[in-house]
Amino acid sequence: MGKIFRFDDDVNTDEIIPGRYNVTTDPKALAEHCFFEVRPDFSKTVKTGDFIVAGENFGCGSSREHAPIAIKASGVKAVIAKSFARIFYRNCINIGLPIMISDELYDLVQDEEEIEVNLKEGRIKILKTGKEVRSQGFPEFILKIIDAGGIVNFLKNHDIGELEDGI
């Protein structure tokens, strides 16, 4: 169970972490400046297990991986959006930040509402109403990366060619 931080469409990586704070690779330091300008209270109020819910095209803009790293290090359990920008989508899969695609959820919840999420089964339960929505599934080879906890962990134990078995 966690609280929702709700964002609109087209949240860009400059909003997630402005360029001038990308001066470190330390996840904790990046988390301190996560949404620093668009939602200054974020880093102070976010708790481990909370969620980000957003509209279309979440994470557009720069390729900076500092953005998903900052979100992950903030303790966010998953980002659930109507759609993701493609580099951000890859980055999340690669670093093991869970993402879920749901057309419905965004319009059913408000900021600070609580939800319960079953990542494995792709189920999201809205506590206030008891309504449950399902997220879209992933292709099999992406599931392999997700199950390993990211591509770096996958490569520790596998050859990259093994991804092809799921393609």
């Binding site: 360029g19 390729s63 990259i160």
Partner: protein, 412 residues
């Protein structure tokens, strides 16, 4: 058989590949810069694998160059140690990654190139498949020489007509993005063609493909032709033909530039596109001409012609950053740098300049900057209380001359 994107992947894998397929391919060039390389090194180290092929790696220092803070200097020092230890030869600090890669012959038609920078989509102007990825993907290629892609569907932009005086390819790409929207081409390859593109110089083609990402595109592409061939052969680089064959485009957009007027995109979205005249007369505090979108010699030429013999107000920050040393040298040889400095503009060393918001022209709260950049997101150039407007080099130069947003046709 297929679109330019499908042709590239088909040649690469020696079989027919269609949009929607997921493929694992050898990466010809893996590029990253001072901002994205530190995390890529971390990812490589964490895989526990050695560097797969140092000769297919290019590292460029361009984002904050020379370093403007202890933090950037420290991160860059780590990268330098990696470069020395691994013996990476392709390391440059002489301009913006995307410009330097093209100039140095890393971008060859048919190649698959990934870059730890979203504007890697630029390389498609030469018929290469370039796409931006995050640092971990760079680390994956460091460790394995490969990466996976979903072969994208293609949106085709069919452009006809000739640009009127004062109207440029930047105005065209802004117009396109305004129409398609910031996420209108998400995951798609954006292929540009038609008579206007066929008549366009390579530098101007790079302006178009550079901004494919601003509508969500995976890459921007232009089929190869005489222009591509002449550019590559004149520099002694190999040329291969990459052209679409019976392509099946997901969508076709038609544009006619005959009636196109100068355009701008106002803060904070690249698809907030309007004719310049709508904002004419609005005061600005900074004008910046440069970046991987518009820091090439063609762009500086426009500004030099307009600044010649003129004086700019010192109350305005006018900043010019050539995209690379090659561009800088050429601008010096042609007398442009003297024109800029005589006019009172500040000319900075080649690199990304203030587009990263960390040096060379950071904006203050309340500042309004008119720039030739590709993004106008809140906080990108410094203060989140500032405003960024993007336009062509001609509109930027006209605005620098008056201190107010000015339609270049009025001062040319």
């Amino acid at each position: 058989m297929g679109t330019v994107a499908e042709e590239i992947f088909s040649k690469k894998l020696s079989r027919n590949v269609s949009a929607g397929e997921i493929v694992l391919v050898d990466i010809d060039v893996t590029m990253s810069h001072d901002n994205t390389t530190p995390l890529a090194i971390k990812a490589l180290r964490n895989t526990g694998k050695p560097l797969y092929d140092k000769n297919r790696i290019v590292v460029i220092f361009d984002h904050v160059q020379p370093p403007a803070s202890v933090e950037s200097a420290t991160l860059q020092k780590e990268v330098l140690e990696f470069i020395k230890k691994e013996g990476i030869k392709n390391f440059f600090r002489e301009g913006i990654c995307h410009q330097v890669l093209v100039e140095k012959g890393f971008v060859i038609p048919g190649r698959v190139i990934i870059g730890g920078d979203s504007h890697t989509c630029t390389y498609g102007a030469l018929g290469a498949f370039g796409t931006g990825v995050g640092s971990t993907d760079i680390g994956v290629s460091y460790a394995t020489g490969k990466n996976w892609f979903r072969v994208p569907e293609t949106f085709y932009f069919d452009v006809k007509g000739s640009f009127a005086k004062g109207v440029y390819p930047k105005d065209l790409i802004l117009k396109i993005i305004g129409k398609v929207g910031a996420r209108g081409a998400t995951y798609k390859a954006c292929e540009f063609g038609g008579e206007t593109i066929e008549n366009m110089a390579l530098g101007d083609r790079l302006t178009l493909t550079n901004m494919a990402i601003e509508m969500g595109g995976k890459t921007g592409l232009i089929k190869t032709d005489k222009v591509t061939e002449n550019f590559l052969k004149s520099r002694g680089y190999p040329y291969t033909e990459i052209v679409p064959k019976d392509p099946d485009y997901e969508k076709v957009f038609e544009f006619d530039v005959d009636d196109l007027t100068p355009q701008l995109a106002v803060s904070p979205r690249v698809d907030n596109v309007y004719p310049v005249e709508k904002y004419a007369g609005t005061e600005v505090d900074e004008v910046f001409i440069g970046t991987c979108t518009n820091g090439r010699i063609e762009d500086l030429e426009i500004a030099a012609r307009m600044f010649k013999g003129k004086k700019l107000s010192p109350l305005l920050k006018t900043i010019i950053v050539p995209a690379s040393n090659e561009v800088y040298f050429e601008a010096m040889n042609r007398g442009y740098i003297k024109i800029f400095m005589d006019a009172g503009a500040m000319v900075c060393n080649p690199g990304c300049g203030p587009c990263i918001g960390r040096h060379q022209g950071v904006i203050a709260p309340g500042d309004r900057a008119l720039t030739t950049m590709n993004r106008n997101f809140i906080g990108r150039m410094g203060s989140d209380k500032g405003e960024i407007i993007i336009a062509s080099p001609a509109t930027a130069a006209a605005t620098a001359l008056t201190g107010k947003i000015t339609d270049p046709r009025e001062v040319m």
